[in-house]
Amino acid sequence: MIPPGDTPDHAPAVRLRGVTKTFGRGSASVPALRGVDMRVEPGQLVMLVGPSGCGKTTLVSIISGVLDQDEGEVEVYGTAWSDLSTDQRARRRASTVGFVFQQFNLLPALSAAENVAVPLLLQGLPRRAAMERAGEALRAVGLGDRRRDLPSRLSGGMQQRVAIARALVGEPSLLVCDEPTANLDARTGQSVMELVHEASHSHDSLGRRRAVIVVTHDGRIFHFADRIEEMEDGRIKDRPSEVVMLEAHAHAAPGAPGAGAGPATLAGGASGPTPARPDTGGT
């Protein structure tokens, strides 16, 4: 359901209303999400933070259409996942969502370029064209000379760069990153986040501004966010805790990506990422 004024062209990148999810049944059931409302605008980089088990990963799984919610509505650029069949959903994921995972999740038998080309092949692009674009995407993340290497021959940072190239090669509208820096050292993590941050300032294949959602525990990258949403016990808190805000400020070094462009421009005049509440469409 698209509210008045939110035509597909002007719809929020992500809109969640009353989303719940429970795993298991009966006495063994574990509620992971207890009614989440959230809105992410095109061009925004939103970070989801919170303790382990608070529902961050479940939330981004539902946002990216790889998991069904029990209740509530989830729309990505004006389209509800629940309105789509399994195959339509797969096709839309291929064209709309880019993924960056904590474990990189590169296919071990494929070279870096072949890994990057997979989303294009899934969209039906001929192999030759897909490989050419994959090569360009790898050059864009600084790995143009490692296109033939298998993932096992790449460092963790390089693998994550390949994963970012794979996530962006199809020019998705939404980039979903799950702990993208968790397995990387501080410096590599920063460079990876610079690429992610840059992605939030670029456009998708339809010319729309791209939204980025990053799930993280890593306080060192909070300053890249336009907005931080803190989760606790399956809900999004009204405001991020002081600890989160302090961490965000502590790592927002002057001149660092995100330190100026992101936090300084946020609403409320705060000099750090702003806990902007989502417009839930009048609910």
Binding site: S61, A90, F101, N105, P108, A109, V118
Partner: protein
Amino acid sequence: MRTVALRMLLGDHAKYLSLVLGLAFASLLITQQGSIFLGLMLRATGPLQNISQADLWVTDPAVQWISETRAVSDDDLNRVRSVPGVAWAEPLFNGRAVCELADGKFRSVNIVGISRSTLVGGPPEVLEGRLEDLRIEDAVFVEQSSRAKLGNPRIGDTLKLNDRRAVVVGFCRAKAGFDSPAVMYSSYANAVRFVPLGRKTLTYILVGVKPDAGVHDVQRRIGEIPGLAAFTTDELRWLTVGFIMRETGIGINFGITVLLGFIVGIVVAGAIFYQFTLDNLRSFAVLKALGARRATLIGMQLLQAMVVGFMGLGLGVGLASLFALAGRRPGAELAVYFPWPLLLGAFGAMLVCVFAGSLLSLQRVLRLEPAVVFK
């Protein structure tokens, strides 16, 4: 996505090799045992293949297979010749004699006696000598693969058949029977002398049907003569195959081995494919998350199954052929026969193996929650 599927398959060398070797073994069992079975069937019906001129084979109605008959009389030959629609009818003798060898040993020999005047029923291929020389008293043609068994005689040599003198006048190529004894051709009159029987000496009456007469009509008419039945070559072939399958247990035994190969194929393909899928579950989940549709994933798995199936089949058939080649010895060749339907059947069996084997894995992949990529 074909390349991705193949890379995933070939990327795990150990599993790929296990799959291919497992399927090759299954395919070897199926094709090797199948080819021996067909080879034996072919050998059993060898006498039928040697004679192409006859439209009908006339013998006792109780005949069960080509090599076991109750002789009919010379009078019956005349009766058959008088049946309307019969163009010609010639006697054929088939009997066993003992051939004394120079080293004091002996061999059982199948003596085929053919009409002295028309030479109908003669060997399909003459290698040395003239078939007409069979009209000479005591003359015999020796089948080429029997030569070694009989001490490598040459033209002009004398052999002792059931204590009677036989002179080698030529060599020919012909198919032996089920138990592959040495084979010799002689005139009907000579053959009856070599292998004395009772009052009735005719094994078969070979019949040619007039062009304007229907084979089945003539067959029916001959069947009306008491104590005679006429069979087409095909009928006698299937009678023989059916008898051997039924009475010797060959069909069941070979069938069991072929079935074992089939089961091994399914189990090996299923188990290794499933393990392969489990090992690649995350990769499949990633593909699903990235937007792979059901049809894409099914296509990938089927392609992987087809590739290992083809490789296994090729290797298995190759090995079966090597076995056949290794078993080639003059005079004692392994009965193997690789007709294209056998290869097609093995291919079909292999496809069933790999597809059935991959069903479980496919189900696992299709049911896989792509959300596991976040775990």
